[in-house]
Amino acid sequence: MTLRHALAAASVSALAGAVLIALAAGTSPHRVWLGISGLLGVALTFPSLVTDPRDLLPALVFCVPPVIALAGDPGTTWLIGPLAVLLLVGAELGAASWEAEGKRASRGAGVQRTRRIGQLAALSLVGAVAVTFAARLVWLESTVAVVVAAGALAGLAGVTFTPAKR
């Protein structure tokens, strides 16, 4: 199995995992339709991995509804953040598999890219969890809390990832 195939398989697995967890944990009465949407989303991942120009939009758009449905049950809303990170990881791995195409694609570059995806996933998870708890704070209006948290997170990300001046 080549690096490209491994990354593509990991991408599909991540997206399918997010959809399956969302469907398993969710209590929505429309789970059949959500399942169809998720299945379609995962199925649309395959053309995004092989066709040119590359486009992840259809796959993501159909994978998101099962995760959105978790918001209807207060007991499962904490899962939305981690599953969103899983969706992002799936998309990033798909994009990494594009880069790994070709006979001379470097394994080192693939490992480097995977490490960066891990960094992005970790930061996103921290951010998503932070926003989840910020939204539950009683002393702020929920929308205001979200905006404040998102702004703080963006600032943090900017400081973390801006390259140092030489």
């Binding site: 993501l60 918001a71 963006a154 900017g158």
Partner: protein, 433 residues
């Protein structure tokens, strides 16, 4: 063989292009945030956070990037098979992951490859030394140099062609020849071919009685003794003529075609050099995808022009370039020496057309029979046999019209081939020197 280094440099502005994730992340981020606001459901916002983060990081730089690139080749002229060292230097502002590619290499290989691919992370300057091998004679460009810059976590990339690399002149190794083919009609300049006219020279023409003014060294003592009166030798003057080398430069991209082309080029260059050394005026016709025509001329400048034309023919053959094909009107009296595998009907028709117009013609057929792999299957054997018959028919068509034809192997010395061609010309009634 080497020459001073050549370099080419350029400055190019690369504009950003979006990645396949950008639109998807944007739609998910704003779609989910809009849904959260409309539904008053703050719990949805964490779904948008990872994608919003990816967007914020991915779009932190979107301005065009100015790239300065320079390619240096430490020789501009080499022989086939020689290696040349080069240096690719690129610089830009900011730390980018860089992916440089040189492609569309023709007649040149980098290592065992025909392209070049270099990836490095987070740098502002890229310097890559490389070593290329001149695989095929001709004038070859180093190829197109492309660069792709990306930022870590970036959702845009900067991609563009920076330049076409400098050209390398790859000279064919010359064959060793020691015999000349005599032009059909001599010019008045001194050369080493025999003429039908009489004058000073080395080749014996006739005997005649001595007349006052004859040189004593021309006395033929044996004839004088037999006739009991002074008899002198007469000689042909040595004069030069016009020679036009017709080079069949059709290349189907196969290894065999490349070997045939190399052989024809080496032979053409060797013939041209020998005839020029004999004060002949030499011209060149390239019969390939395009027609190249260099009228006969002599002297050092003509030799340089001949080499340039030969390299141009080789470069076009390697690149598969087609410009224009036309009929060439070779001057009357010039000897045309055709170098061809006779694979193409057009070449045969061109040669026959010249012959029909009364041009003196000698053809060396580069026969790849020994160089091809033996036929393994009945159908391959049949195909080889059919082609053999077709080639025989084409050669017979030339011979029927009084054209001297010899076959030459793809490898080996060309000296015996030239000797054979001289004999063939004698048999076909042409005058030889």
């Amino acid at each position: 063989m080497s020459a001073p280094a050549i370099e080419r440099s350029t400055t190019t502005t690369l504009t950003p292009a979006r990645d396949g994730r950008l639109v998807a992340y944007t739609v998910v981020t704003f779609g989910v945030l809009a849904a959260a606001l409309l539904m008053g459901e703050a719990a949805l916002v964490p779904l948008a956070i990872p994608f919003a983060l990816a967007l914020a990081l991915g779009l932190r730089r979107t301005a065009p990037v100015e790239v300065t690139a320079r390619v240096t080749l430490f020789a501009d002229q080499v022989l086939e098979g020689d290696e040349v060292e080069g240096l690719l230097e690129m610089s830009w502002s900011g730390d980018f992951d860089a992916h440089a590619v040189i492609h569309r290499l023709r007649g040149i290989t980098i290592g065992a490859r025909t392209d070049f691919d270099e990836r490095v992370d987070a740098i502002e300057r890229l310097e890559v030394p490389f070593r290329i091998t001149a695989a095929q004679w001709g004038r070859h460009s180093l190829g197109e140099i492309w660069l792709r810059l990306t930022l870590p976590f970036g959702l845009v990339s900067w991609t563009g062609r920076l330049m076409v690399g400098p050209s390398l002149r790859v000279l064919p190794g010359a064959e060793r020849l020691n015999r000349l083919l005599s032009p059909d009609r001599s010019r008045t300049a001194w050369g080493v071919h025999g003429s039908t006219r009489l004058g000073d020279g080395h080749d014996f023409a006739e005997l005649r009685p001595y007349v006052p003014g004859d040189r004593v060294r021309d006395l033929n003592w044996a004839a004088t003794g037999r006739h009991r009166r002074p008899i002198v030798n007469r000689h042909h003057p040595e004069v030069s003529g016009d020679v036009v080398i017709a080079l069949d430069a059709r290349d189907d991209g196969s290894e065999l075609a490349r070997r045939i082309l190399t052989r024809t080029a080496r032979t053409a260059w060797a013939l041209a050099t020998m005839h020029m050394r004999a004060n002949d005026r030499v011209g060149l016709v390239g019969l390939g995808r395009s027609t190249r025509w260099l009228p006969p001329a002599g002297g050092r400048l003509a030799k340089y022009m001949l080499m340039e034309t030969l390299l141009g023919i080789g470069g076009e053959a390697a690149d598969g370039v087609t410009t224009s094909r036309r009929q060439v009107d070779v001057p009357a009296g010039a000897l045309i020496i055709g170098l061809t595998p006779l694979h193409d009907d057009d070449t045969l028709l061109t040669l026959l057309r010249w012959r029909a117009r009364g041009r003196s013609l000698a053809v060396i057929v580069i026969d790849p029979d020994d160089a091809t792999a033996p036929a393994a299957t009945p159908s391959e054997r049949l195909a080889a046999r059919l082609w053999g018959l077709e080639l025989d028919a084409r050669i017979a068509a030339l011979r029927r019209r009084g054209v001297a034809v010899v076959r030459a192997p793809v490898d080996g010395s060309m000296g015996p081939v030239i000797s054979g061609l001289r004999r063939a010309r004698q048999r076909s009634g042409r005058r030889v020197g």
